[in-house]
């Protein structure tokens, strides 16, 4: 399978099953569609009016050479390979700890329902947190690198417990030959110098929630008194990002139908000096006024393209920044096993509620039918864990023939469930945006390699 696209005068051809990415001229860009359909002489006949014979022959020879090298028209060779991994017992290696089902902001679009996740306000106890660490150590079997994400609601509302859990994990990781990596996601309202120092000492990554321009941010992310939070958090976020030398963090925003010109928000964050930026599409029920619609896609595509071009310009001028969704390392990216398996929700990544209940991921929390067990007794619903493990790109009809399957790995199971009631049917708007982002990411890579 190949996929080709042209952006800003750059023609690209992807060989999906080998992972090879090619930048091609106009002749190859046209020929590649017909190369497998016609014998060489007929192919030349078809294009001889448009291109010189010598050019056509040369281009065809180059295509032939790449095909022989296994870099074009490669066949799928992963179905059997995947079965090796699917037969294994799932290993849990990451937990999202819902430290607080409560929040000091009332963000309009929050999938957590202002922190409560379809339930009641609650804070995780240190006891539950420590049990979660014990559970992860046991369920991770021989995996060494383990991840804990302190999430909410707003985890800084229960920060003493965060510290107790970190101290506990650190006190036993050597004994079990584990390496814990901690991440905290915060809206920043309670961030102060002391908390910043603790985060910098102990957290591998910190995710700072901010949507972009002040008016955009404040329209969605406001306090209980309906006052915007932008002015409260920006100075704190700048300070912590600088204190981490502008690495190992993300400012992370959400765009909605109310700011379809979201490229401006990304650039606003870059202009504030942030070097690690992620701004992502809202996932909201269709009936919400701010939910993205299919008719918005053309504008969103334009925005991603505009952003890609601007990112290239800034990088070339030495003023670059990283945009999470445009980051692709073509040489050292994830292995095909990971790409096939997806994000790992429900099998290797689970969410833990303040009460200690286990769910497939943070977005499933509160959906009772997805409760998988708890940190005290472990996973009780093993068939569900197996079902999530088996939810790979080959298990989804829509993904099987999609060129982007090794980049997105089948998309988000929670989005699929939310829109179709089935984790195997991907959320269409999400897919279309993902495909555009992958094209933009590859375009950026090609431009920077010029």
């Amino acid at each position: 399978m190949i996929h080709k696209f042209s952006m800003d005068g750059v023609n690209m051809v992807l060989d999906i099953y080998s992972g090879a990415v090619h930048v091609v001229d106009d002749i190859v860009y046209e020929l590649v569609d017909d190369y497998k359909k016609y014998p060489k002489d007929e192919l030349i006949q078809k294009y001889k009016e448009k291109y010189a014979l010598s050019q056509l022959e040369e281009a065809i020879e180059e295509i032939e050479a790449l095909e022989k090298e296994g870099l074009l028209f490669t066949e799928d060779m992963y179905v059997d390979y995947l079965s090796q991994f699917q037969g294994r017992n799932p290993i849990v290696k990451a937990l999202c700890l819902h430290i607080a089902h409560d929040c000091n902001l009332k963000c309009k679009y929050c999938f957590a329902g202002e922190g409560e996740y379809r339930g009641h306000r609650s804070l995780m106890s240190a006891e539950v947190g420590k049990k979660a660490i014990d559970f992860l150590i046991q369920a991770s079997q021989n995996r060494r690198n383990l991840e804990i994400d302190f999430f909410g609601g707003e985890p800084l509302m229960n920060f003493e417990v965060v510290k107790e859990i970190v101290d506990y994990a650190r006190s036993i990781e050597a004994k079990y030959n584990k390496n814990f990596r901690f991440t905290i996601t915060t809206n920043g309202v309670l961030l102060d110098d002391e908390i910043q120092a603790y985060i910098n000492e102990h957290m591998h990554n910190v995710v700072l929630s901010i949507d972009g321009r002040k008016e955009v941010h404040d329209r969605m992310r406001y306090t209980v008194n309906h006052k915007g939070s932008y002015d409260i958090i920006v100075p704190k976020f700048k300070k912590i990002a600088d204190s981490r030398n502008q690495t190992n963090y993300y400012v992370r925003g959400t765009f909605t139908r109310e700011n379809l010109d979201f490229a401006k928000d990304v650039l606003h964050l870059a202009d504030l000096g942030f070097k690690q930026v992620s701004v992502e599409p809202v996932v909201a029920p269709k009936e919400m006024s701010y939910a993205l619609r299919e008719e918005d896609l053309p504008m969103l595509y334009e925005q991603y393209e505009e952003l890609a071009k601007e990112l290239v310009r800034r990088k070339k001028e030495g003023q670059g920044f990283n945009f999470f969704h445009f980051m692709i390392d073509l040489t050292q990216g994830p292995c095909v096993a990971k790409r096939l398996a997806g994000c790992g929700s429900g099998s290797e990544y689970l969410a833990v509620t303040p009460e200690g209940d286990l769910y497939p991921c943070h977005q499933f929390v509160g959906l009772e039918e997805f409760k998988m067990g708890n940190v005290f007794e472990g996973i009780q619903n093993l068939p569900m864990q197996k079902q999530f493990q088996a939810c790979n790109v080959y298990a989804k009809e829509e993904c099987k023939n999609c060129w982007a399957k090794f980049y997105c790995s089948g998309g988000c199971a929670a989005n699929a469930y939310q829109f179709h009631g089935d984790i195997h049917i991907p959320y269409k708007i999400g897919c279309e945006l993902e495909k555009k982002r992958v094209e933009c990411a590859l375009y950026v890579t090609a431009k920077l390699a010029e």
């Binding site: 992972g19 992963y78 040489t331 095909v336 790409r339 990544y349 890579t445």
Partner: protein, 46 residues
């Protein structure tokens, strides 16, 4: 080559040899939390 510039090699195919160790970061832990992308993660076993 005059008409084609290849930006990488057959990385996916090669990764079959030593892939699947599972030590890499979980996708959602990095930043996304709502929109799954896997290709921008890095390998721990290079």
């Amino acid at each position: 080559m005059k008409h084609i510039k290849t930006l990488n090699t057959a990385t996916l195919k090669k990764s079959m040899a030593k892939g699947g160790c599972g030590e890499c970061q979980t996708s959602c832990q990095s930043a996304c939390k709502t929109s799954c992308t896997v290709a921008n993660q890095s390998c721990e076993n290079n």
